[in-house]
């Protein structure tokens, strides 16, 4: 009888371990869903900047200060249903251009800075993407 009682205690301890393991895991899973969306958005933003500059267009357009052309190039690279802001700063961190989307509500936002050094000019291009 004493042995059976001891095994019950072991079972209870194991069950408690499993329950506490689940309780630790559930917040991670919630965080995981958030992280996937966050990293997905970040990936989209980096991909947009990379795609645009792999042809040299981002560098040339920003150097020339052709902001409307820049926005028109970025727009097709951001999937439908996502919003973006585009901010361009000079080397002293003065804002020299901003494109702000009309949509104000968002769950979360990613900021992706692209530090452009081109023909002696420094421009910090920040693409903010949110859903």
């Amino acid at each position: 009888m004493a042995d059976r009682g001891f095994s019950r205690i072991i079972e209870v301890l194991l069950a408690m371990l499993i329950i506490s393991y689940f309780s630790m895991t559930i917040p991670i899973i919630i965080n995981y869903n958030y992280s996937m969306d966050y990293f997905h958005l970040q990936s989209i933003a980096f991909n947009a900047l990379y795609t645009l500059d792999s042809s040299g267009d981002l560098s040339v357009i920003v150097y020339n200060g052709d902001w409307s052309l820049l926005v028109s190039y970025i727009k097709p690279l951001i999937p439908q249903g996502l919003n973006f802001n585009l901010l361009v700063y000079d080397d002293n961190h003065n804002l020299i251009f901003s494109y702000i989307s009309n949509s104000k509500s968002f769950n979360f936002m990613v900021n992706t800075p692209f530090i452009l050094k081109f023909r002696g000019v420094t421009r910090i291009i920040v693409l903010q993407v949110w859903m």
Partner: protein
């Protein structure tokens, strides 16, 4: 008891397998963007050097600016700069320690521009006392040099004054261009410059 443990194990496998998979995919876009930032920085430092500045000073400044925005430590392992008649180039190897993804990358870059005169012909111009010059020029360099057309500049000294202009040109195949301009009959030397879309400038002196 084992059934509970089994369910817990499956549960973990289902939820955590994609979690580890995503990290690899995401970092590739991030690294590609970083890669371009470094490459632009090296070309910018080369432009600075061609204009009389110091390559390494400018490059360190550029890399420092990137480190202000990203959790990185960037070490310049090696670099080399070449300036000669008809060719300029810079190469650099960077060791990058990334605190965000907890990994180390080694990047090697080359930014270069050169040209060769493949053929040059002189003939009488329809403009009196001027020669008609037609040159086939081959422009070469790193993989990005011909992403956008270059700019050509001809400069010569005549009667004590310096004349500089952009000649007419047409694109041929494989980075070759037909450049066409006129030059006074008694001018027997000129400088020919090519500037690529990144601002890298390469100069050559030619005698007729």
């Amino acid at each position: 008891m084992f059934a509970v443990l089994y369910v817990a194990l499956i549960y973990q496998l289902v939820y955590f397998t994609p979690y580890y998979g995503i990290g690899v995919d995401v970092s590739s876009n991030y690294i590609q963007a970083l890669n371009l930032m470094f490459k632009r920085s090296i070309c910018d430092a080369l432009v600075f050097h061609v204009d009389g500045g110091e390559f390494i000073k400018r490059l360190n400044l550029n890399l420092h600016d990137i480190m202000d925005f990203y959790p990185l430590i960037i070490e310049l392992s090696s670099y080399n700069v070449i300036l000669k008649d008809g060719y300029v180039g810079a190469s650099a190897t960077l060791q990058v320690y990334d605190f965000k993804y907890r990994c180390k990358y080694t990047f090697s870059y080359n930014c270069s521009l050169g040209f060769k005169i493949m053929n040059i012909t002189l003939s009488n111009s329809y403009v009196p006392v001027f020669n008609d010059v037609k040159m086939v020029v081959e422009v070469f360099g790193d993989s990005e040099v011909l992403l956008k057309p270059p700019v050509f500049i001809v400069s010569y000294i005549y009667n004590g004054g310096t004349f500089t202009f952009n000649p007419d040109y047409e694109s041929l195949m494989d980075g070759r261009y037909m450049v066409h301009f006129v030059i006074p009959l008694n001018v027997h030397a000129f400088t020919f410059s090519v500037i690529d879309w990144r601002g890298v400038k390469c100069i050559g002196l030619f005698k007729l």
